[in-house]
Amino acid sequence: MATQDSEKVQKVLLMGRAGSGKTSMRSIIFANYLARDTYRFTFTVDINRSRVRFLGNLVLSLWDCGGQGLFMEQYFQSQKDQIFKNVEVLIYVFEVVSKEPDKDLEYYKNCLAALEDLSQGAKIFCMIHKMDLIADSMRDKVFEQKQQEIIDVSKDFDVTCFRTSIWDETLYKAWSDIVNILLPNVQDLKSSLKDFCDANSADDVVLFEKYTFLVIANHDNIGHKDDHRFEKISNIIKQFKLSCIKTNFQFESMTFKNSYFTAFVEEFTSSTYIMVISSDPDVETEAISFNIKASRDYFENLVTDSLGSS
């Protein structure tokens, strides 16, 4: 059992103007909402704090800060210390089609200034969100432009921008990248996945976090052409998982086949699922299934270690 001491709490601020999509994204990633259920959300009053457990021992303290003007003003005055102290990560959400783009940037700059005072090491991520509202052919251009504007005002801060929408896998891509940065020792896990992949002559092996289905680590043996495949799979399996929950089931294992490949997705360590893809006709599928079970305990420790020592 995990003790209080081994828990690692990280404070994550979610900021952005009202209606930009903060509550929607956190509910989809961490609270099992479907994208289509988010249209019912009313604005967030003040700050909504929630704790989510990730990979067992990592606890994210998510501060979803309501974005209405009035609240925003307070964040930089009376509540400044409380909010901006000990921040590990700032995620700032920009609505891609905004009525007041200048004001968005203004608030963003205020956040950076407050972090400069109170949490210097904080990592900064910007989501350029609701990309689905932009025509497909324009998305690259619009994203580049927005990203440049953000980098220009970020000065000395290192900032990573993502293009996101709750309606496709981009949301999973962004959040997977963010949580990966919170896992200092993920390298060992990766090299063990490589060994596992080789030992089974598998094509592709991935670890997903159990509750969110965010990607933790992977190894690709054949140089797959689709770079977004894991996020697509996260997205689609998460949907399936939600249907299971509705029928009061949880899935334990799945195998998908056609004449060319076999894919296994199985509960793995106490906080992960593993996916293994094989197309080698000489490998018995039972053998892979067996090896997955046999290496559980070994990976259990590696997953815990990936969080680093607290």
Binding site: D132, S253, F256
Partner: protein, 315 residues
């Protein structure tokens, strides 16, 4: 065999056609322009399960003479009623006119009413949904009685934001194919001989089910089976070779264990998918104990596959 989509402008006809048959994501239907002339789409994933959907411009009226050719081809007319802003009386009047003309030409047409868009804040509970449903039903029955028209109408509560639209269209498509009866028999015998809890035969591309056994359909079971097809197709698109998504060896096995809130009696369950014909799959829910006899299940699925081929060959 044609299925016609008719009804007032903006009631959701094109959205339905796109979401079900062209995989448009529901929220994107917001951008659809009004339909100016009839749009025809033929579903022919399997050569023996072919039908055509005709999406008409809003408020299309029918005339027994002018539209004779269309109506002779028609298997079912779906009237889409917008439950958010639609006027029941006005709609029932128009529907009655359509039925009056159509039944002059073709007595075999099935009439179907979608009480549609029951997904907004207006319809958060089932009572509210049943109220429009009943009002519409009562009103159209009166209209038809007054006009002395005698036809059967089936009603459905639908929304493109959930699985109700797939369920409704599945039931309508099933009416158009006489061989569905045989399929139901075969699925029933799978139920008795192997203890299969629930079985569907899906058109894997549209996710319309063309048959299920006679036990009542729990929409959550449909949902989980259809979600499973989504996962299989995505996986096959990513890892299949040369975009070969689906072939004779396509199959899926999923082990489900009971969730934390399930009753004590509920046991573990398997979801099992097998190809049975071109783009047709059998998906079933099977209890853990029954699934141990997988060879028996496979044997019976093979029998089903054979009979299906014979039925199709006879046609």
């Amino acid at each position: 065999m044609d299925i016609l989509l008719v009804g007032p402008s903006k009631s959701g006809k094109t959205s339905i056609q796109r979401v079900v048959f062209k995989k448009l994501s529901p929220h994107e239907s917001f951008f659809l322009p009004p339909t100016m002339s009839v749009e025809t789409l033929t579903v022919e994933n399997n050569p023996n399960v072919q039908f055509t959907i005709k999406d008409f411009p809003g408020n299309k009226e029918f005339d027994a003479e002018a539209d004779r050719a269309i109506l002779e081809q028609t298997g079912a007319i779906i009237y889409v009623f917008d439950a958010q802003i639609g006027d029941i009386e006005e709609s029932c009047g128009k529907l009655k006119d359509i039925i009056a003309e159509a039944s002059k030409v073709n007595e075999k047409i099935y009439y179907e009413v979608f009480v549609h868009k029951v997904d907004s804040d207006l319809y958060q509970n089932d009572d509210q949904k049943m109220e429009v449903y009943n009002d519409f039903q009562r009103e159209i029955r009166n209209e038809l009685k007054e006009a002395d028209i005698n036809v059967n109408i089936t009603f459905y509560l639908t929304s493109i934001y959930d699985h109700t639209i797939f369920d409704a269209l599945s039931k309508i498509v099933q009416k158009l194919f006489p061989f569905v009866e045989h399929l139901i028999e075969m699925l029933n015998s799978l139920h008795t001989s192997c203890g299969v809890e629930k079985a569907f035969i899906f058109d894997i591309i549209s996710k319309i089910f063309i048959a299920t056994d006679s036990s009542p359909v729990d929409i959550t079971h449909y949902e989980i089976c259809s979600e499973l097809i989504d996962v299989l197709i995505d996986m096959s698109c990513i890892y299949g070779k040369d975009n070969l998504k689906f072939d004779e060896e396509s199959s899926t096995t999923i082990k489900l264990k009971k969730g934390d809130n399930a009753d004590d009696e509920a046991g573990n369950t398997y979801l099992y998918l097998k190809e049975v014909d071109e783009y047709l799959v059998l998906v079933c829910l099977i209890g853990e104990e029954e699934f141990q006899k997988k060879h028996l299940i496979n044997y019976n699925i093979n029998l089903l596959k054979q009979s299906l081929k014979e039925i199709f060959a006879k046609k």
